[in-house]
Amino acid sequence: MLSIEDVWKRYGREWVLKGVSLRVAAGEAVALLGPNGVGKTTLLRVAATLTRPQRGRVELGVDRSELVYLANPPAFYRHLSGFENLKTGTLLFGRPVDRAAVEGALKAVGLPPDKPVAAYSSGMKKRLALARARLLRPRLLLLDEPETALDAEGRTLLLGLIAEVKVRGGAVLLATHDRAFAEAAADREVALS
């Protein structure tokens, strides 16, 4: 589904990615492993079409409306509540907004609907990101260190989301430092060096 071929990316004079190639098949989850600064986040951003590589080719295999990228840390509007963030986010994504579905997604991750995101902890923001991904039902899910700041219950929710996407025939590419989490979440591990 996702195909990255011979991607080269540099910031200034420093090459971060040097000829990286990777494929993620439908129904598959792949974990990117590697030390800090090796280019895991950059590769995810290239895959998400957020940044253009100097060389190489990225084929998403899905429409951009079917792609969800969970950044680390996840970004939300601080002055809006969790409910408002999800509602407007879904609307701007071009999807119909179902109030019950939004409330259900928040309830599923154990978040109150009316609390402003400014009052959320890091873990709660991660849970809100999971709720958003669940609501948008992506076919291609890109996750940047998704397990950080999540408690055991949050990790279970995350693993559930990854399994859901795979069952629907989607693909998951995640970057992590945590080998144990990678083994639990992914079918295959790729080490960047």
Partner: protein
């Protein structure tokens, strides 16, 4: 269209809740009008003569504080990437942000109109044509500001660079708007102001078209 409106309304909601840009703008506006009032007064005739210029000086300077808000909201919340990931061409993002900034500037211009009318004796007898002039002026101002604010959004010096970029392009709009306002304040008929309105409409159409078409190429994650 639905997404454009949703984006503008969401941003307005955030701006009114955070009040960061609005409070500083209204404070700055008050100071500018007070200083100009002291500098040009106390003769009524002097104040009256200066009123059209004061209106647009106050709008342009106070508006420059709001100019960066369209994208400043995204930078503050670190949500620029989320926005750029939204499906579809990025042109609609420009229109949503333009509508948001236009809304803020329109609110500001109503307040400026009332204050200038009260402090500088700007006659509001031709209120509707005056409002048309103001709307045409702020459309051009918002069109250019939205574009350049998006261009420099990720720069740490965005707040410094933005007014320089905006003012260098938006000067013809301000000049035409001042001339039209002065003519209306002097009792001119709409027919006499029409050539200035045509000029403003032409600038607005050019700026909006060029900005919306170029926007997807200049904004990147």
């Amino acid at each position: 269209m639905r997404r454009i409106l949703a984006l503008a309304l969401r941003d307005l909601k955030i701006e009114f809740r955070s009040r960061a840009g609005l409070l500083s703008t209204f404070f700055f506006l008050g100071v500018v009008l007070l200083i100009l009032g002291f500098a040009l007064g106390p003769e009524t005739a002097d104040l009256k003569r200066a009123a059209p210029g004061v209106l647009w000086v106050a709008l342009a300077f106070a508006g420059s504080l709001l100019a960066g808000r369209a994208w400043g909201l995204e930078v503050e919340n670190d949500t620029l990437d989320e926005l750029l990931l939204l499906p579809g061409s990025r042109e609609w993002l420009y229109w949503g942000k333009f509508l948001f900034l236009f809304g803020l500037l329109f609110l500001l211009s109503l307040i400026v109109l009332v204050l200038v009318a009260g402090m500088f004796y700007l006659p509001l007898t031709a209120f509707f044509p005056l409002l048309v002039t103001v709307v045409l002026g702020i459309v051009g101002y918002a069109a250019v500001s939205t574009f350049y604010a998006g261009l420099v959004a990720r720069l740490s010096t965005a707040q410094l660079i933005l007014p320089i970029l905006v003012f260098s392009v938006v000067v013809p709009v301000i000049l035409a708007a001042v001339k039209a306002t002065a003519a209306l304040a002097g009792g001119a008929a709409v027919a006499d102001v029409w050539p200035w309105w045509q000029l403003l409409i032409a600038f607005d159409v050019i700026y909006l078209t060029a900005s919306s078409l170029l926007f997807p190429f200049v904004v990147e994650g």
